[in-house]
Subunit: 189 residues, 2 copies
Amino acid sequence: MEHKGFTIWFTGLSGAGKSTLAGLLEKELRSCGMRVEVLDGDVIRTHLSKGLGFSKEDRDTNIRRIGWVCQVLTRNGVVAIAAAISPYRDIRDEVRSHVGNFVEVYMEAPIAVLAERDVKGLYKKALAGEIKNFTGVSDPYEPPLNPEVVCHTDHETVGESLGKIMRVLHQRGYLLDGTGPDPKSFTNP
Amino acid sequence: MEHKGFTIWFTGLSGAGKSTLAGLLEKELRSCGMRVEVLDGDVIRTHLSKGLGFSKEDRDTNIRRIGWVCQVLTRNGVVAIAAAISPYRDIRDEVRSHVGNFVEVYMEAPIAVLAERDVKGLYKKALAGEIKNFTGVSDPYEPPLNPEVVCHTDHETVGESLGKIMRVLHQRGYLLDGTGPDPKSFTNP
């Protein structure tokens, strides 16, 4: 079935749940018969950005590459879901202007909460100074000023977060008529 | 309209007509209502491979990146057309195995003919030793052993070359039923 291409761009600190929610959203949209590709920051670093480090310049290059792939997919009617820290506002906005159909999802969580969860054990190391250029600890993170969706991941279930995103996609006319889930089936924010 | 995703991979020396034929093929397939993206080697070097040079390793990395984008597009029902020298057989075959629906088009032309045409004035410089690692002159080119299509660009019109490709796409069931051009409308090889 034909549907519009668009990009859903998850941004937020490490451990905020970007990849998890991207995976759930992918399933949800696939179940509606949509063509979906997840571009995970870590995976992209293997395929497109091997050799790049974590300076601002290298991070920007990495994000521009993910953005370019999102742009190509979007203009060919595919749903691109990007999940990358993407700490700098100017580069996210640059990607937005190139892509056009762009939904920015800010995965918000206080750093204290993330450090306590510390899923990959990275915050402990970063706070001990063992990892340089760690976003939110020793490297900047610039939250979006006007994201289409904010998920407060410290006091919201993934189902609630997913519901917020689906409602925005529905409102924008990005979901296929009649095939999308009933937006009322998701809890109101 | 839904159609299969596949990749058409043009390989051949600089000036052999890869980009030209890629552009014509793009138009032809678009006119059939297909979603098509051209990945031109030079353009990709700007978007995905800035900083890479022309050593075997860097060339391989560049081709793997183009190949990965082709793979992503193909699995999402888009037609990817790659036009890059892609001099090494092993990397082209690696890309082929990842992509699956893969049509390799070898743009064949004797180097003497290319040097005489010398569209961009590069052969003159390369033969004078002013450009290092110039494929076909001072860097290897490994022709495909079993390409789906060979275009003899020195004694074949672009229309004839295009016809050969369209016939192969038709035979493989890649064209939309009833919307493709009549394969008989192209000159037989």
